[in-house]
Amino acid sequence: MKKVLAFLLTTVMVVSLAACGGSKASQSTSDEGNQEATTQDATTQEAGNTLTVWCWDPAFNIYAMQEAEKVYQKDHPDFKLNVVETPWADIQTKLTTAATSGDLSSLPDILLMQDNAFQKYVLSYPEAIADITSSGIDFKQFGEAKTAYSVVDGKNYGVPFDNGAVISCLRTDVLEQAGYTVEDFTDVTWTKYIEMGKDILAKTGKPLLSAQAGECDLIMIMLQSAGASLFDENGNPTIVNNDVLLKVMDVYKELVTSGVLIEVNDWDEYIGTLNSETVAGTINGCWILGSIQSAADQSGKWGITNMPSLEGVTGATNYSNNGGSSWLVTANGKNTQLATDFLNRTFAGSVPFYETILPSSGALATYLPAGESDVYAQPQEFFGGKAIYSQITEYAGKVPSNNTGVYYYEARDAVKAALVNIVAGADATTELKNAEDTVKFQMGQ
């Protein structure tokens, strides 16, 4: 009897397991999406003047959207914007759910898309994303490298938003102790940077950089600074026999072994090293300025300049890009016209709009005409009275363009694994070969 009972229990558990495993795959058929669709339908159908938007940061992109609403309302008094705060991870699962179930009505009219994921979604769910090439938006007014993220097969799918131009941030007071200035770090190579970094470490005990262990933000930044990427123009992986990548791995390893860069475990720890004065600088997308400024007591102690360049690599520059996002218009057919017109008159056509959002959110535009605005040229107390925003806008225009590729996240994870092993002492060529094999395998469906 007990045996029968035990067997029954096992069966029950096995069945519940299968349900779990199955639900992961077939979430597309769940009712969740439909329920949301009906509630959202109700709001949008009531007024054809309402747009729903998904984005994630109240201090940044949500704020920008709300300001854009005010700008558009001047000409269209009936217009209303319904901004739903949706974390990036949720946007991805919701978009996947809606697209696989074929019921696009649960999608908003506009959503914010990370540039690195843009190609993947356009390729995977083309039916869910509107082609806005001929919507009247002048894409030439945006930085070229930035616009390239949302272009697939010559068609535009996104309106570029925030800037991810890379800056090298430095603690001027620490540099001074060691006898350096920010100018010493301008237009330098990595060799020179590491050399000065060692000196500063010896004199002040502070490393110049910190990074998340096993993450490869810095690797991707260095790659793009030379116009390279993990894929070629045709989307084939170029991880093996990629001289730039090998050089980058060399530089990274040197940074870690010399102690100029310390590795931490997660994002909060990384921000902690900046705010608690553990390190004397950082290199990241210019959106990092927001986190740096959260330590109000460090006002006036920071300076910014361009990043170091790779040595002995063709096409190497002192400029790169990390992160950033673009607005995507969904193809749910409800308000596509209104959505593109709204974007055209705000994010893609209003300098005063960018002048409003810059001072309070630090949202740097990729909209080039805005860069010439006076607001950008105003000196910033926190950064030693320098006009850093026009400086960064200038950097943004010089960033080399590269192809992120559809399989960006696969390649990134594979290189991440290789990076951990290489830093631990494994042979770079073999590790990169393994990484390329992994990516190639994952690309062959």
């Binding site: 007990k2 045996k3 035990a6 067997f7 229990l9 096992t10 558990m13 096995v14 069945v15 519940s16 397991l17 299968a18 349900a19 779990c20 495993g21 199955g22 639900s23 992961k24 795959a25 077939s26 597309s28 058929t29 769940s30 991805q92 699962t93 996947t96 697209a99 696989t100 074929g102 993947k120 390729l123 995977s124 769910y125 039916e127 262990a213 096993g214 590795e263 931490v264 475990n265 997660d266 720890e269 559809v406 399989y407 996240y409 696969e410 994870d413 991440k416 694994a417 290789a418 951990v420 092993n421 393994n434 094999d437 992994t438 395998f441 994952q442 469906q445």
Partner: protein, 297 residues
């Protein structure tokens, strides 16, 4: 004659009432579990990006055995299974028999304290463990204060120490849960049995090994199967504690399935096939455990 007819009617009525109570639950289970299961099975025989699926036969099932990352994840799951489950179950058993002692004071307090980890959210405990083992975290601070380490050791960067941290976290989280099963099993063992053993001169260890363990065998079997099942489906710890790193050393199968569905270019057919492999593995392991563990008839 008449009486038996009446009885049959009554039986039937009882049956009907029973079914009426069961129906809502059955309908819900069929819609929420069985239909998705069948759909997932069909999906596992298809391949393609996003919505563009086509039939591919057993391609996905062959493919996963050539996938180095998935094989690594499978290996990781078995490392957890082989090392963590036995340690945890022995630990739970010892704790349970200690707490079953009649003369122990504050029993309720101890039981609650040991069961409490089980009531914490999977995500939050994983994040707390991550910060405990950070370079400037609590564990490193203690090790430095005690003079064992000079500077903080980055536990989550080394593959071996990262796995040990995951195993420690799992033991902390699940020992109390299994202990409760043993405690309830122990209530069925007459205390007089222990007293008799004591009079006969059995040591504490002997009465544990000769009385507690054999009499608890069905419960031990149950917890072993449940732990196996849980370990093979491990997800939260891999995602939140170590993010699958360093170099995929702590990545679990469920985490990889999530990646292939939502992080990478979506390949739901392949994900469904991998989910079914977990199902098959659990079924096989449970069957073996039943065969090995239950030798009474």
């Amino acid at each position: 004659m008449n009486q038996s007819k009446k009885k049959m009617k009554l039986d039937r009525r009882h049956n009907l009432v029973g079914w009426a109570f069961l129906t809502p639950a059955v309908i819900l289970i069929v819609i929420m579990s069985f239909i998705p299961m069948v759909k997932a099975l069909l999906l596992s025989f298809q391949t393609g990006i996003g919505n563009k699926l086509k039939w591919a036969g057993t391609l996905n099932y062959v493919r996963m055995f050539q996938d180095t990352v998935f094989m690594q994840a499978l290996k990781n799951n078995f490392v957890y299974l082989i090392i963590q489950v036995p340690i945890m179950l022995v630990f739970a058993l010892v704790l349970a028999s200690m707490l079953n002692n009649k003369n122990l004071r504050f029993k309720g307090l101890f039981r609650t304290a040991i069961f409490l980890p089980c009531a914490t959210s999977l995500v939050s405990y994983a994040i707390i463990f991550r910060s405990l083992f950070a370079v400037d975290g609590f564990i490193n601070m203690i090790l430095i204060k005690l003079g064992i380490l000079e500077t903080g050791y980055n536990f989550l960067v080394n593959p071996t120490s990262a796995r040990i941290v995951v195993i420690l976290a799992l033991i902390w989280r699940w020992t109390g849960y299994n202990m409760v099963f043993y405690l309830s099993g122990l209530q069925n063992i007459e205390y007089s049995v222990y007293e008799a053993a004591k009079i006969d001169g059995a040591s504490v260890f002997q009465s544990f090994w000769r009385i507690t363990v054999p009499l608890l065998k069905p419960t031990i079997l149950l917890t072993a199967i449940m732990s196996t099942n849980g370990t093979l489906q491990l997800f939260d710890e891999s995602v939140n504690l170590t993010k699958g790193g360093p170099a995929n050393a702590t990545l679990t199968m469920s985490h990889y399935i999530y990646n292939t569905s939502f992080k990478y270019v979506p390949n739901f057919g392949y994900s469904a096939a991998m989910s079914y492999l977990i199902l098959i593995l659990v079924a096989v392991l449970a069957f073996i455990q039943l065969k090995v563990g239950d030798k009474r008839d």
